[in-house]
């Protein structure tokens, strides 16, 4: 096989995810009156950020062949924590953010420790720790409310120009109408990917996550530090989920320990990971795919807003039908992966991963 074919063979799932996103979001942009404008990008990226974060968080445990049912709870816990600590003087805000991110990583680390050293199944451990984290969130924020630094809220949830406006920095003119129009959440995601994911993926520990997910026994026999890889995967999952919680606090300006919302984010994160091309059996996929998976999920619901209610397809915009459409699309998307089943010649191959 040529190099290109090998490269395609290992990345086609990612390209498929990007393709699905472009198709769905393209339709939306085409139908929307303000399609393609910076304002709309800002709004859409704001609405997608939290789901993207929890989807990124879910990816790492899934890569190791596990699952993290606590990502929604960690997200909510950090959201509640941020509404208590991210306010006051700039130093306090800064320390508050550090505290939030450290607590998030700690929550993930605790998950990892129980799974690795307690030798328990990830799915059931994170189910239980999810309840504990939710309890802590309720302690921190029994009723919705709290306060988050307003300046930071503005700076993080608009475009790059807004950062300059908010803090009164001089804005270079060439910047204002070009780079300045990029939504801040997009930049934040790119930073997280470049600073955390790419170095991690290329490290021995990160490679170990893929190896553990493909064949744990073989990884162990090859002398890889299996325990360290899995610990790192769950710790990073906590951190990513915490980033989402922090952002949700900035976006809403408050905290809310909402149990149904946490559950919905956890379940949607699994769906986003699958659409993004990561195998639930582990070993295949990556965070970038999940980002596109999460954006595709969000873009599906965007689409319902823009169909003309009086047109031939007007029934699609009926809010009552939306959950049904969203569910059907999710079901069709995951079933589409079953196409290979019908091309398999030896039925024994069905039972592999």
């Amino acid at each position: 096989m040529s190099n290109f074919k090998i490269w395609m063979a290992s990345n086609w799932r990612l390209f498929l995810a990007i393709g699905i996103f472009c198709l769905i979001y393209g339709t939306y942009s085409f139908l929307h009156p303000a399609g393609g404008s910076s304002r709309l990008f800002v709004q859409n990226s704001n609405e997608s950020f939290v789901l993207i974060s929890v989807a990124m968080a879910q990816t790492l445990p899934v890569l190791t062949g596990g699952l993290d049912l606590s990502v929604g709870s960690v997200m909510t816990m950090i959201n509640a924590l941020a509404s208590n600590v991210v306010n006051g003087s700039p130093t306090e805000v800064f320390l508050g953010i550090i505290l939030c991110l450290c607590s998030a990583a700690l929550a993930g680390f605790i998950n990892g420790c129980i799974i690795v050293y307690g030798r328990l199944q990830p799915i059931i451990v994170t189910l239980a720790t999810g309840a504990v984290f939710m309890g802590i969130a309720l302690f921190l924020r029994p009723t919705p409310g709290g306060e988050v630094d307003g300046d930071l809220s503005f700076a993080a949830t608009f475009d790059l120009n807004e950062i300059f406006f908010t803090y009164g920095w001089p804005l270079p003119e060439w910047f204002e109408n070009s780079l300045g129009l990029i939504p801040t959440p997009v930049v934040l995601i790119v930073i997280v990917v470049l600073v955390i994911w790419v170095p991690f993926k290329n490290s021995v520990t990160g490679r170990g996550c893929y190896a553990v997910g493909s064949a744990e026994g073989a990884a162990y026999m090859s002398g890889l530090n299996v325990d360290r890889s899995r610990l790192a995967a769950y710790t990073l999952a906590g951190l990513f989920a915490g980033i989402g919680g922090l952002y949700l606090a900035l976006q809403t300006g408050s905290g809310n320990a909402d149990i149904p919302q946490a559950g919905a984010y956890t379940l949607n994160s699994i769906a986003a990971v699958v659409i993004g091309g990561t195998s639930l059996y582990g070993g295949i996929g990556g965070v970038v795919g999940s980002i596109f998976g999460a954006m595709s999920l969000r873009a599906i619901s965007f689409n319902f807003r823009v169909f003309d209610a009086d047109g031939p397809l007007g029934f699609i915009s009926d809010p009552l039908l939306q959950p049904l459409f969203e569910g059907s699309i999710l079901l069709i998307a995951v079933s589409a992966g079953a196409a290979r089943v019908f091309s398999i010649k030896n039925r024994l191959n069905l039972f592999g991963s």
């Binding site: 307690g118 189910l127 239980a128 720790t129 309840a131 309720l138 009552l320 459409f325 079901l331 079953a338």
Partner: protein, 316 residues
């Protein structure tokens, strides 16, 4: 000769011990604060068993699927769909209609997992969302105005000879499942497939049929629980099943069933369901705030599993 205590499964032993512990702690609390010991009264215990029968039914079905190493996340809306269908149809055919709804959802789940080979976790999640969407279309997003039928009310809240009828329903279905697991080929196949599906396939087991049957059993149990719950509160409502998914999985696992499949007993699941219901009840009597309840609930699951649910240590 071993004593009878040693013959009980380790998980069941610990879970039973924990149930006694929960009751004693609850009683000490009420003795100090109210001067009474309500938790040992037969009335209280029967009432808790009645509540436990709903969770127990769901956990029974869930266990059959978990024995295969699969999971059914569509339980919340299967339950709600059955309850809504039953109350909407009404009359003599109410329960039949509800169970039929469960049967259809179970068939879809089973076919998706058995023929399309989609991981059950994601397929049933999708089915759950679709059924939720259907129910929202059906009810218009509001609470349905239909009421449960007298038979449903009787099954959920009635008493026969001083014992809640719901317990008889739970016992009857549980008995059927125990018979199925221990005395029929289907039961053997379930354990065999949970341990190694390809080996069961090569031994001539119709693995697809067993997969579909397991998901149908799970959905039927959830549908029955939904019908009972509708009878219990005299109506069906949006989201009535959402609170049952995770406790059902927890009950199965606390009862010693391996989440990866192949190992587990129904007796353990029954004890697990009772433990979870009692724990929730005692904590609410002790006026523990929701936050504390969540933390204790999660810690208990992890604590119990750390005691007896640990995997074998890897040896090189």
């Amino acid at each position: 000769m071993k004593s009878w205590i040693e013959n009980i499964d380790k998980p069941i032993k610990y879970a039973l011990g924990f149930i006694v512990l929960v009751l004693i702690v609850g009683n000490i609390y009420t003795l100090i604060n109210l001067g009474t010991m309500p938790f040992f009264s037969p009335n209280y215990l029967l009432q808790q068993l009645q509540v436990a029968s709903f969770l127990g039914l769901i956990a029974t079905g869930m266990m059959v699927v978990i024995l295969l190493g699969h999971i059914d996340l569509s339980v919340p809306w299967t339950l709600t769909c059955a309850a809504m269908t039953a109350t909407a149809v009404g009359g003599d055919g109410a329960m039949l209609a509800g169970l039929t709804a469960g049967l259809i959802i179970g068939l879809i789940n089973g076919i998706g997992v058995a023929f399309l080979r989609v991981p059950s976790m994601i397929f049933t999640l999708g089915v759950n969302t679709v059924v939720q969407g259907l129910m929202i279309v059906h009810t218009g997003g509001y609470a349905p105005q239909t009421a449960s039928t007298p038979i449903m009310n009787f099954l959920a809240t009635g008493y026969i000879a001083g014992i809640p009828t719901a317990l008889f329903v739970w016992a009857a279905i549980g008995g059927l499942i125990i018979f199925m697991l221990n005395r029929t080929p289907m039961g053997r196949y379930l354990y065999a497939m949970g341990n190694r599906e390809v080996a069961a396939y090569l031994s001539g087991v119709n693995t697809r049929l067993i997969l579909i049957a397991a998901f149908v059993i799970c959905s039927l149990c959830a549908a029955m629980a939904g019908i009972l719950l509708a009878g219990y509160s005299a109506k069906a409502y949006q989201g009535m099943g959402d609170l049952y998914l995770l406790p059902a999985i927890a009950a199965v696992v606390i009862g010693g069933t391996n989440i990866l499949g192949g190992k587990g007993t129904l007796a353990g699941t029954v004890v697990g369901a009772i433990l979870i219901v009692l724990l929730q009840s005692v904590l609410s009597v002790m006026q523990m705030p929701e936050a504390g309840r969540q933390i204790i609930y999660g810690s208990v699951i992890i604590g119990m599993l750390l005691v007896y649910g640990r995997a074998e240590k890897k040896e090189s």
